[in-house]
Symmetry: C2
Subunit: 408 residues, 2 copies
C-alpha cells in the first residue's frame, strides 16, 4: 500500500472471527515488492454466495469466471491477487484463472466452480501462473491471518486497510457480518464496485443473499465515485457459512430476513464510504444530496453529474463555495431541470434559491463548512419527489501525482 | 487573460477585414482588472445570422435571448461581455440582457431583436446594467479595433487570443470567413461550444447558414472536450453580411454552396482545436480516433468516454503508454464492444490487437510519440463501420491549480 495515508482515513476496527471462514495470505510477488499480495480464504462446506460485478464491456476473466460460478450459488474458497488485474489478457488470462481454481480445488477436494477469484492491478499483463500456484501453495501452508492482514493484502494504491462489521438478530440468534474492501482510483462502480468481500455466519439461501446484496448495492457501491472511471474488475462477493445455526433465510418474509438485509446494507454503506475516503488524492469527503427531481433515477444521474464534475471537485478542494459550478453540472446532466426552481445549499446554508443567489447570505458558516473534511452539497430541483444521495471526494494535485506515473 | 501562455499556443494569424463588420472594444470593468472586457461588433444591414447554443438545462439568459433572436435570421450587432457570465441570475440577468439590446438598438436605430448578446465568466452574479451601458457607450465612441483586440477582449481564463480565417469561391467571387473564439475550461460542448463568432462577407440566407453551421458543428465543436463540463453559456454565432455580392446561397444545391459549407467547416475545425490547445493546464493535444464501431454515434460516445477519462488523461500527461486505461474507458462507455476484437495504437504503433497486448512491440517509437505535444490514440472495435474523431488535452497539475482558486 501507499506510504502516504489519506487524511480521511479511519482506524481499522476490531473485526470478529466468522465461524466457517479462515483467511490466509502469502507472497506471490506479482510485482517487485516485499509484501503479501495473495489472499486465500477457505469457506465451510454449504456456504452460500452472491455477487455483483462490473457492467464494463471489457471485463477481466476473473469477472467472467465469478459471473458463471455465481449461477451455482455455493462457494468453498476465495482467492484475491493484488498487483495485476489480469484484465485484457485474452486466452492467457483465462488460463490463469482456470489454473488458480483447479489448484485450489485440488487442495480442498472441491469443484473448481466453488472457487471465486478476483484480481486487481495493472491491466494488460497476463497473471503469471507459476507465481500464482506457488503463492497458493504457500498460503495453504501458512497459519491463518486476521482480517487486517487480509484487508492489507488485497490493496494496491489504497493508503489504508478497510474493513467493517455489524450484526443482526435472526431467528433469535445473533448473526455477524464482516466485510473487507479495496479501492482508491478507477472508482465509478456501475452496479458493482471495486473488490469487496462480505462474510457472515448467517444461514441464507443464495437467492435471498443475492437479492439482499442487489438491494444494498443500489444505495451504496452504486452511489460512490472517485473519478468517474469504471474498472474492468469491479467485484463484490458475499459469503454466508450458515454456522450461526439460524433457520435459513430464504424467500419467505420474516423479521429476521429484514434485519439481515438491513445489516447487509449497513455494512455495504460502511465499506463504500471507506473507499471514497481513500479516493486518490482526496482531502475531503463530499456528500451530494439531490431532492425534488422528477424520479429517483433522475436524481441519481444529476447527483452523479455533480459528483463527477472536475470543476465542482476542484472548487471544493480549494474550499471555494463556487455554487455556479453546481448549476453547470445540473444543467449538463441531461435530466429534467428548471433553472428558476433550482435551490442549492452548502452544509446547512442555502446559497441559491429558485434560480437566484440568496441575497446577503451569511458566508461565514459556508466558509467554515468548506474548511472541514466532510462536505455536504444539497440540491433541490423543485420538480417532484425524486431523491438520491451519492458520495465522492475532491480532485487535487494528489490525484494527478498518483496517476501520471502509476504503471511504470 | 492569464499571464502563463499554454505551451500548445499558436500565433494569432493575420485576419482580413470583413466588409460590413466593424469590431470595437471597451472597458466595462466587470471585474477589478485593467483590460477591455466588452466587445461590440456592428453588422451591415441585411446581415444573415445562424447559431448553435448549449443544450444545458440551466442556460444563461444570453443563450435564451440568442435562441429566440435566431428565429428571425437577421442581425445588426453582437455584444460580448467577459468576466461575468450572467448565468443563473433570474429576472435580474434577463433585465441586463434586455437593457444591453435596447441600448444598442437605440444607438444603431435597429430592433433589439437584431442585437446578439453573449457573456462569459463567473456564474451567479447579475451583470451590472450600469457598467454594461457605460461600456457600450464607450465602445460606440471608440475607434474600431482589429480582430486580435476583439479576440483578446472576449477571453477569460484563456492564455492566448484565438482566431482563424479561410476563403471559398462562390459564384465566381472569393468570399472570406473570419472567426474568433474563447474557451479554456468548462469545455464539453453539447452540440454547441464556448463563445465562438464567425463573420463572412458571403451572401447567404439564414436557413442555409444555419444548415451549414449545424453540419460544421457536428464534426468540430461537438467533438472537443477539455474536462467534460458543459458550460451554461456555450454559443457559436455566424454572421454573413453579403458584401461580397455573390448570388445569395440558399436551399438550391450549387458548387458555391458546397465550397462555402466546406470553408465554414474548415474554419470551425481550426477554431475548435484552438480551444483544446488552450485547455486549462494542457501540455498535450490528444486526438482520439475510433473506428470499427457499430455506428458513428457509438464511435463518438466511445471516443468521448476515452477523452473524458481522468485516468487516460493523467497517463498521457505522464507520457505513460498505459493502454489498459484506454480499455477501461472503452468498457465503461456503455456501447457495444468486445474485448477480444479490440485493437489500440499510440501514434503509428499497435500496442494491443484483438484483446491482447502485441507481444514484444517496439516501445521506443511509442515513448517518442508520447514525449511529443500532439498525441494520437487509435482504437478499432472490430465490429462495424462506425467512425469518430474527437480532440482533448491532458489532465495536469495546472488544471488543479487553475480551478481550485478561480472564483475568489
Amino acid at each position: 500500500m501507499s506510504s502516504s495515508i489519506s487524511p480521511l482515513a479511519t482506524p481499522f476496527p476490531a473485526l470478529p472471527v466468522i465461524a466457517g471462514v479462515v483467511p490466509h495470505v502469502a507472497r506471490a510477488q506479482y510485482k517487485t515488492w516485499d509484501r503479501c499480495d495473495l489472499t486465500f480464504v477457505t469457506l465451510a462446506e454449504g456456504t452460500s454466495v452472491a455477487g455483483v460485478v462490473t457492467q464494463s464491456k471489457c471485463p477481466s476473466p476473473e469477472v467472467e469466471w465469478c459471473r458463471k460460478a455465481l449461477t451455482l450459488g455455493t462457494a468453498r474458497a476465495l482467492v484475491v491477487n493484488a498487483g495485476n488485474s489480469n484484465a485484457f489478457t485474452g486466452h492467457r488470462g483465462r488460463a490463469a484463472v482456470e489454473a488458480i481454481a483447479a489448484r485450489t480445488a485440488q487442495h480442498l477436494g472441491c469443484q473448481p466452480s466453488d472457487v471465486f477469484v478476483a484480481s486487481t492491478g495493472v491491466i494488460g499483463v497476463p497473471l503469471p501462473i507459476d507465481k500464482a500456484e506457488a503463492g497458493l501453495d504457500a498460503a495453504f501452508a501458512a497459519t491463518p491471518c486476521d482480517w487486517r492482514a487480509a484487508a492489507e493484502t488485497i490493496g494496491t494504491t489504497d493508503t489504508y486497510p478497510k474493513g467493517a462489521t455489524t450484526t443482526a438478530i435472526v431467528d433469535g440468534r445473533t448473526v455477524t457480518l464482516v466485510g473487507i474492501i479495496k479501492g482508491s482510483g478507477m472508482i465509478a462502480p456501475d452496479m458493482a464496485t471495486m473488490l469487496g468481500f462480505v462474510f457472515t455466519d448467517a444461514a441464507v439461501t443464495p437467492g435471498f443473499l443475492q437479492a439482499a446484496l442487489n438491494a444494498a448495492n443500489r444505495n451504496t457501491f452504486s452511489c460512490i465515485t472517485v473519478d468517474g472511471d469504471t474498472s474492468t474488475s469491479d467485484t463484490v462477493l458475499a459469503f454466508a457459512t450458515g454456522a450461526a445455526g439460524n433457520a435459513p433465510l430464504g424467500d419467505a418474509h420474516s423479521d429476521g430476513a429484514d434485519a439481515f438485509a438491513a445489516a447487509l446494507a449497513d455494512l455495504c454503506a460502511q465499506l463504500a464510504l471507506l473507499v471514497v475516503r481513500d479516493g486518490e488524492g482526496a482531502t475531503k469527503l463530499i456528500e451530494i444530496a439531490v431532492t425534488g427531481a422528477e424520479s429517483d433515477a433522475s436524481a441519481h444521474r444529476i447527483a452523479m453529474s455533480i459528483a463527477n464534475s472536475p470543476l465542482v471537485k476542484t472548487a471544493i478542494a480549494g474550499e471555494d463555495a463556487n455554487w455556479g459550478r453546481v448549476v453547470m453540472a445540473v444543467g449538463k446532466a441531461g435530466e429534467p431541470a428548471e433553472r428558476d426552481k433550482l435551490s442549492i445549499r452548502f452544509g446547512e446554508t442555502q446559497v441559491a434559491r429558485e434560480g437566484l443567489a440568496v441575497e446577503g447570505y451569511d458566508e461565514a458558516p459556508v466558509a467554515a463548512h468548506l474548511k472541514g473534511q466532510e462536505i455536504e452539497v444539497g440540491v433541490d430541483l423543485g420538480l417532484g419527489d425524486g431523491v438520491a444521495t451519492v458520495w465522492t471526494c475532491d480532485l487535487t494535485h494528489g490525484y494527478i501525482s498518483i496517476n501520471a506515473d502509476y504503471r511504470s
